[in-house]
Symmetry: C2
Subunit: 436 residues, 2 copies
C-alpha cells in the first residue's frame, strides 16, 4: 500500500471531476466514488430526452474520462455517510459495505430533483437530473404522440398532446422549446391522423416571470420567442395537484385542472442528503435546500481537511451552476496541492462569473455575462461554442456537433428510439387507458 | 373513407418494411402494425450491446422511415391474431382491442429468441433480438467489469470476468469477438485493480463447429482468429443448466459447471406465435420452429390474399436472414401490384443469394457468396460497405460510420453509458452479491 496523501472525492459531476483532473500531477492518490459509473453533462440532458443526443454523448464513463490519470481510481458505490472523526467514507454496493479512508475529502455529491414536499408528483412528472430520467421523459414524449394517433376520443387525444413543463428556469425553457420544435416541425410529417403541430405546451412557474435568474429584458425576449413558437407561459402559477391524466394549477384568480398526460418537472433542486448529515456532524446548520455552509476556502467549519463544493456548498448565495461546481472543485484541488507544498494559509474561493445561457429554440438563445446581454442567432452561436468547448471529450464534441447538424438543419431527431417496454411500463404505472 | 385496396403489413422488420416501401407508388392504402415504434437493424444489435452504436443508429422510428410515403400509416399495437374468414387483423394496445380490415395481408412478424424449451434460462442469459435486450446486455457487460473491480474474493472476481456466449452463429461470433476487443483493448486502461485482458470469453455451440451455415474453411479461419484473440471455443457442447452465477456445460466426455456471472444467448430463434395460429386456420402444419409453409409465391395455402414472408415463412429451407426477408417482402408487394394491374397468375418467389458475412473483430470479417470466399481485412471492407449500404437512412449511415471510426481506429467505445438502475436491477433480479 502507498503512503501518499489520499484524496477521496464523493461525486463525479462537474465539481468532483474538475477536482480530480486538477490533481492530475499532484503527489496524491485520488479515489472518486460515485453511484453512477458515468459523469453527466447535465445541461444537455434535455436533448437526450427530446431525441437530439444519445446517452453516450452526455454521459461518458468516469473511468474512461480518467483513464490516463494514473493517480486516480473510480469506485462504483453509494456513499452512506462520512465519519469526520475517523476520516472515512462509508460505502455500500448491494449488500456489501466498506470504508474508504481519506486524508483530504472533497464532497461533491450535488443535488437531486425537489418536488417541494410533493414527492407524490414524482411518478407523474419525472425530473431531469439523470440518464434514467431523460430516457423516461423520452419514452413519455414520443409515446404520447404514438398513443394520441390511436385515440378516437377527442378529449383524451387532447390530453395526450398536452405537455406541461413545471419550472421555467433554463432547463424548463429549453425543454418547452424543444417540445414545440418537435411538434411543430420534426414530427409533423410522421403522423397521419393527428396534427402534431396542434399540441399544447404549457410552461408553468410560480415566479412572476420565466428565467428569473436572468436579466428581465432577456427573459422577456425568451418569453416572446417561446410564445411565437406556440408555448403557453403561465407564470405566477403553482402546481397544487397532479394525477396520471391531469395537473391542477393555482393562481391568484383561482384553481384550474388541465387534462395532460405528460408532465415534466424541472422546478427545483435539493442538495444530497449527505449535506445535512455532514452539517450536523460539523455542528452547523444546513440551508433550507440542504446545502452546507462552508468557510471562505470551501472547507467545512472546524474541518480544514473536508471541502464541500458545487451544489452541496452554501457560500455567498452562489447559484447551482456547472461553472460554480467546476471552479469550486478546482479551488479545493488547488488548496490541497498548496498545503502539500507547505503553504497552509487558507485562500478564499473567488467565483469568476462566466455568465449564463439558455437555448430557447434552434438558432435562438439568450445569454448574459457581467451586465452584457446577447440574444437571437448571435446568442445561439455563443451557446454552440460554449457547449462544444465544455462537453467532455473530443469525440463527444464531434459527435454532438454531428447530432446538432441533423437536428438543427434537418429538423429531424436522430435519437428517438423508445421501446414498448418503456411506453407500456409507463401506462401500467399510471393505470392509463387509451380507449374504453 | 377510401375505397382503395387495403394492404395490412404485420411487422416492421426487414420483410415488412421492404414490402411497405415497394408499395410506395401502388394505388393502395398501407397500414403497418408493429408492437414497437421502430424498425430494427438487427445484424448490428450486438454493437449497441457492446457500446459501439447508439439505439438511434440501428432503430429509426417506423413512422419516420415512412414519413414521405403518403399511402402508408403506422400503428403501434400488439397483434393478437388474424381472422382469415372475415379478413381482419385483431389489434390490442393496453386494454383497448380493435380490428383492422385488409384486402391483402402481409405477415412479417418475424421471430423471437428461442431457449429450446429452457425458458428459465432467459432471466440469466438475455437474448439479442430487441433494443431492450441490447441495453440489458450492455448493462451486464460493462457492469460486470465494474463489479469485478470492487470484488476482493478471487473466485467471485473470476466469475465476474467470465463471459459465456451461447450459440456460435454470426451474432454469437460477433459478440464474442467484441467482448474480446473490449477486454483486451478498450477497457484495459480504465481499471486499476483488475486486468480486464485476463477476462475469459467462452463461445459455446452444440454443433461440431462455429458458423455452421458458412463454408467450413471460412469457419475455421474465423475460429483461429477468435482463438488468437483469446476466445475459448467449445463446440459439441450443450448448455444443460444455468443460474445467476454459473452455467452447466455438457459434452460427450461429461458435465462441467463454469462460474460465470454474464451469459448471453444467441443460440436459436422461434417464429412468432402468430405463425402457428395462422397455419392452424389455414389447415397446414407449422414447422418445428413455428414457421408457416407457403405456396411458391409466398401465399398461405388456399389464401392467395395472405402473404407470409421472412422468418415467419417456411419455403425451400430458406434461412432466417435479413436478405430473405427483404426479397420475400418485395415479392409480396410486387404480387399485389401485379394483381391490381389485372395479372392474376401467381409468380414463384426466387431467392437471389447475396451471400453471408460475419465480422469477427475490427478489420477482420469472413464472407461468402455463391462459392466465392473472402476473409480478413478484405472481408471486413466488404462488411463495412454492405452494412453502410443497407443501414436505414442516410443520417444513420453517416452516424454509424463516425461511431465505427471511433471504435475501430480509436478502439474506444462511444456508447458505454449504463445506469445504476440497470446494474442494480440486474443484481436484485439475480439475488447476486458482491462480497459477503
Amino acid at each position: 500500500m502507498t503512503s501518499r496523501h489520499r484524496v477521496v472525492i464523493v461525486g463525479g459531476g462537474f465539481g468532483g471531476l474538475a477536482a480530480a483532473k486538477a490533481l492530475r500531477r499532484a503527489p496524491v492518490d485520488v479515489t472518486m466514488v460515485d453511484r453512477q459509473s458515468h459523469h453527466l453533462f447535465q445541461p444537455l440532458l434535455y436533448q437526450v430526452a427530446t431525441g437530439v443526443l444519445s446517452q453516450g454523448n452526455v454521459a461518458p464513463p468516469l473511468r474512461d474520462v480518467l483513464r490516463h490519470q494514473g493517480n486516480a481510481e473510480v469506485v462504483l458505490a453509494e456513499v452512506d455517510g462520512v465519519d469526520l472523526e475517523r476520516c472515512v467514507v462509508r460505502c455500500r454496493l448491494l449488500d456489501r459495505t466498506w470504508e474508504v479512508p481519506y486524508d483530504s475529502l472533497i464532497m461533491a455529491a450535488g443535488s437531486a430533483q425537489s418536488y417541494f414536499g410533493h414527492d407524490e408528483f414524482a411518478v407523474h412528472a419525472p425530473g431531469m437530473k439523470t440518464i434514467d430520467d431523460a430516457l423516461e421523459v423520452r419514452g413519455r414524449l414520443f409515446g404520447a404522440f404514438e398513443l394520441a394517433e390511436l385515440e378516437d376520443d377527442a378529449g383524451r387525444r387532447t390530453a395526450w398532446t398536452t405537455f406541461v413543463v413545471v419550472g421555467a428556469g433554463p432547463t424548463g425553457v429549453e425543454m418547452a422549446g424543444q417540445i414545440a420544435e418537435l411538434s411543430r416541425y420534426s414530427l409533423r410529417s410522421n403522423f397521419r391522423r393527428i396534427d402534431t403541430a396542434a399540441a399544447r405546451i404549457v410552461l408553468v412557474d410560480a415566479a412572476p416571470r420565466i428565467l428569473s435568474s436572468f436579466d428581465e429584458r432577456l427573459a422577456r425576449r425568451a418569453a416572446e420567442k417561446l410564445e411565437r413558437m406556440g408555448v403557453e407561459i403561465r407564470t405566477g402559477t403553482l402546481v397544487t395537484g397532479m394525477d396520471a391524466a391531469s395537473v391542477e394549477l393555482k393562481t391568484t384568480s383561482g384553481v384550474v385542472r388541465l387534462a395532460a398526460m405528460t408532465k415534466i418537472w424541472s422546478a427545483g433542486v435539493q442538495a444530497s442528503p449527505l449535506g445535512t448529515e455532514l452539517a450536523a456532524q460539523a455542528g452547523v446548520e444546513s440551508s433550507r435546500s440542504g446545502r452546507v455552509p462552508v468557510e471562505a476556502d470551501c472547507t467545512l467549519p472546524g474541518r480544514p481537511e473536508v471541502f464541500v463544493v458545487g451544489d452541496l456548498m452554501a457560500l455567498d448565495s452562489l447559484p447551482g451552476l456547472a461553472e460554480v461546481a467546476i471552479q469550486s472543485g478546482r479551488h479545493a484541488a488547488a488548496e490541497i496541492r498548496r498545503r502539500l507544498d507547505g503553504d497552509t494559509r487558507p485562500r478564499p474561493f473567488r467565483y469568476r462569473d462566466l455568465g449564463s445561457l439558455a437555448a430557447v429554440s434552434r438558432f435562438y438563445a439568450v445569454g448574459e455575462r457581467r451586465g452584457a446581454r446577447i440574444w437571437g442567432f448571435a446568442g445561439w452561436l455563443v451557446w454552440l461554442f460554449v457547449h462544444l468547448t465544455f462537453l467532455t471529450g473530443f469525440k463527444n464534441r464531434i459527435s454532438a456537433l454531428f447530432h446538432w447538424m441533423i437536428s438543427f438543419f434537418g429538423r429531424s431527431r436522430p435519437e428517438r428510439t423508445i421501446t414498448a417496454r418503456q411506453v407500456f411500463a409507463r401506462q401500467a404505472l399510471q393505470g392509463g387507458r387509451v380507449r374504453g
